[in-house]
């Protein structure tokens, strides 16, 4: 096959053994690479019933089929393992240059088994692959590790690493790459830390040969023109995702004060316009990225002084409005610290905001918090706790367990304020103002998550695309974010498409928002880049297969319909204020429609045998569903 590295690395960290295995092409036809490849390999290799932080867990990192290609936004890799936060399927993605570099070194994926007794890092320089002593960098930050490795080996090395949070097994620690790119969700940094693996340094000086070299540039020119002509691209380049604060506040979808409400009176102070005006150094791209949503920002002086890559809407919402915090410099700085220590800012801010609501309700006092004042909007507390959580100091040690486990520890009814699904904190989409996001959060394999489906077609007037992708008969209901009707159909379709996109290494920007490239464009790219002849229908089936295998992974670990649930606040208490007053998430209705659409059992949420048979997963189903 063209356009890929060609080999995968299997690393036994216990024995210190490294094995190179060629990419299995039969598997590519069923799962592609990236997220699909890992869904299969980890399903086959992670035993049921293990502690996610034990050596028995398997950590996979994989690039997609198009990672390193010239397709717009083809920069991505995926990290996966059994999640120490959710105890079910854990998966997270990042952009950058690390993935393409791995391809140029001749590899597509790395699978780590076992655990090293002493800290190590993996050093890759084309054919040379070695485990090296990491004792000099254990205990240092993501930035220090990046500097140290590039100083020691090559300024041109691309580094993926964990910071102190991963070493300390913070349950929402991130795997970081290229300094400020984060595979943030699911706590996979803690898995890396539990394996004694500090970093992976990659240098690749090879090339990718493509299937259609003659026409490649012409075809890419067409994709580039389409991407650049899309009106979203200009907006994205200007604000990144930061101006979602003002857009989401406008529709009442900006989580504020934990998740009490979807509007924040201080939204302008933490808005994209304010960041752009006061703090933006420049937009930043990753490999082959025309959207350039990455930001490079700085705070010039004061206690929150920094310069670096950040932020993204999720961090403004989690560390800002969710904590009632309108001090923008503290939001930016806390995000910067989270990059430095290697942490997911969503779970970080959501866990702090859970504690703030418990404090507001009088259920937590300064005796619990080492004297830290958890009043809404206390920006010094947000920054201080970011550090204490990463280093597991004092009250930070409790919060480092995530909000579910922290609430179990504290008790006193604080669990009422935990805003999670399957123990993962809900991201920055107040679902009472966008029903599809509520459904997506419960069906996502990795626990509360907006990206597994990324159902944004009802968010910004994509009626034309809904008509093209689904059919006119679903309008206007499907496009109405407050109407639960047809959201099961939409979320199912979006999941299939998005896991396929994560398996080819493309970004959700350009495929889902704006919805510029669809199955036929990906099929075309796979043809000219990899020489793969897969139809749109086949790609959709592969997406469906991956979603079902992720589901079986979770069903084998006890997940049923009763776990596909939102906190009562979102399904029973009407939104108190904002443009969607009184709204709740009509979850049961949407979930029925979703299961039906998936061919899953309405009672327990298990895939039916007919569905599994159609996808070639009958054997797996029989082993799991008794």
């Amino acid at each position: 096959m063209k356009g890929i590295g060609g080999n995968n690395l299997w690393i036994d960290l216990t024995k210190g053994e490294i094995e190179k295995r060629p990419v299995e092409e039969e598997m590519v036809n069923e799962y592609l690479l990236g997220a699909g490849y890992l869904s299969r390999v980890l399903y086959d290799n992670i035993p049921v019933g293990i502690d996610p932080l034990s050596p028995k867990n398997v950590l996979g990192i994989a690039t997609g089929l198009l990672t390193g290609s010239m397709f717009p936004q083809a920069s991505r890799h995926v990290v996966a393992a059994l999640s120490p936060l959710t105890d079910v399927w854990g998966e997270s993605h990042a952009a950058g240059f690390w993935g393409p570099e791995l391809k140029f070194a001749g590899y597509d994926a790395i699978i780590f088994t076992g655990a090293s007794s002493d800290p190590v890092y993996l050093y890759i320089q084309n054919d040379t692959v070695e485990l090296l002593d990491a004792s000099d960098i254990w205990g240092t930050s993501v930035f220090e590790t990046d500097d140290w490795i590039r100083e020691k080996h090559s300024k041109r090395a691309r580094v993926l690493s964990i910071g102190q949070a991963g070493e300390n097994k913070v349950r929402f620690a991130a795997v970081m790459n290229d300094r400020d790119r984060a595979s943030a969700r699911s706590g996979l940094g803690a898995v890396m830390g539990s394996k004694g693996l500090k970093a992976i340094s990659v240098r690749g000086t090879g090339k990718l040969e493509v299937a259609d070299p003659k026409d490649y540039l012409n075809q890419m020119d067409i994709f580039y023109e389409r991407m650049l002509a899309n009106p979203f691209t200009k907006e994205r380049a200007k604000y990144g995702t930061t101006n979602l604060v003002e857009l989401m506040n406008h529709i009442g979808r900006l989580p504020s004060y934990n998740m009490r409400q979807g509007v924040f009176e201080g939204f302008e102070k933490i808005s994209g316009h304010t960041i752009t005006e006061k703090h933006l150094v420049k937009p930043r791209s990753d490999w082959s990225c025309l959207q350039r949503c990455g930001r490079y920002t700085r705070v010039k002086e004061g206690p929150y002084k920094y310069i670096g890559g950040s932020p993204e809407f999720e961090s403004q919402s989690s560390l800002g409005s969710r904590c009632g915090n309108d001090n923008l410099e503290s939001v930016l700085f806390s995000h910067h610290l989270a990059n430095m220590y290697g942490m997911d800012t969503i779970s970080l801010g959501a866990t702090i905001s859970w504690a703030m609501e418990a404090w507001d309700e009088g259920l937590l006092t300064s005796e619990d918090t080492d004297g830290i004042d958890l009043a809404w909007g206390n920006h010094e507390t947000v920054v201080k706790l970011t550090e204490m959580i990463a280093l597991r100091e004092g009250f930070g040690d409790i919060l480092a367990e995530g909000s579910v486990r922290a609430a179990e520890r504290i008790g006193r009814g604080t669990e009422k304020f935990v805003m999670t699904v399957k123990k993962q904190e809900i991201a920055g989409q107040e679902p009472r103002a966008q029903k599809s996001m509520g459904l997506a959060a419960v069906t996502a394999a990795r626990g509360a998550d907006h990206l597994y489906a990324f159902p944004v077609l009802d968010e910004a007037g994509f009626d034309k695309e809904i008509k093209e992708r689904f059919g006119e008969q679903y309008l206007p209901e499907m496009a109405d974010r407050l109407n639960p009707k047809y959201k099961g159909i939409m979320v199912k379709e979006c999941e299939d498409f998005m896991v396929m996109v994560e398996s080819v290494g493309l970004c959700k920007y350009g495929t889902q928002i704006p919805p510029e490239f669809y199955y036929d464009d990906v099929a075309q790219a796979l043809r000219i880049h990899n020489g793969l002849d897969l139809t749109s229908e086949e790609l959709q089936t592969i997406g469906e297969r991956i979603v079902n295998l992720n589901r079986l992974f979770n069903v084998a670990r006890g997940v049923t319909r009763s776990d596909d649930q939102l906190p009562d606040r979102l399904t029973k208490e009407g939104a108190p204020k904002g443009p969607s007053p009184g709204q709740v998430v009509e979850l049961d209705q949407m979930l029925d429609e979703y299961y039906e659409q998936r061919g899953w059992n309405l009672e327990n949420g298990f895939p039916t045998m007919d569905t599994l048979k159609r996808l070639g997963l009958e054997k797996e189903g029989k082993a799991v569903i008794k």
Binding site: P213, P283, R292
Partner: protein, 162 residues
């Protein structure tokens, strides 16, 4: 000789997307791979992305260094490599102060930017343009660009394999 043209980039505008690098390797070598490109892109924190090209020097040290007279200047002022004469001695690579002429990993013959403009046309942020020494001096009257390049020259022109 001041009308000699070259491609130049603004490291504060360039976002580091690699489109120029990839367009070049695909156009001339039909592969993707920074080592096959005549453009280099170097990211230096905090916040700089340098797209780097042949500077079309008036004295062109690469030309003088070639033991086989394989490098010459066309009537339009473009420095080109004659593949038939080039033996891959690498003397030009050593002589170039900008690491802008390198050996093609497959043919092992010298490759360099010939100011074709294919990358300039496709840069999504207009961070690169074709210019001359005089034009650039005018545009960069405050010395912002030249000082950024000077400040980081050690890292920018270090001849480690790409």
């Amino acid at each position: 000789m001041t009308e000699l043209k070259f491609v130049f980039g603004d490291p504060e505008v360039c976002t580091g997307c690699m489109v120029c690098v990839n367009v070049c390797s695909m156009r001339y070598s039909k592969v993707i791979g920074p080592s096959w490109s005549r453009v280099r892109a170097v990211r230096i924190e905090p916040g700089l992305d340098f797209p780097l090209f042949c500077r079309n020097c008036e004295d062109a040290p690469c030309m003088a260094a070639c033991p086989n007279e394989a490098i010459s200047r066309t009537s339009k002022g473009v420095v080109i490599v004659n593949n038939k004469k080039c033996t891959g001695s690498g003397e030009c690579v050593k002589a170039c102060p900008y690491y802008a002429i390198r050996l093609h990993p497959d043919t092992e013959k010298a490759i360099k930017c010939i100011q074709c403009g294919a990358c300039v046309d496709r840069c999504p942020v207009n961070a690169i343009w074709i210019t001359t020494e005089n034009e650039l001096n005018e545009k960069d009257a405050d010395g912002r660009l030249s000082s950024l390049y000077e400040k980081h020259e050690t890292e920018l022109y270090n001849k480690e394999e790409i």
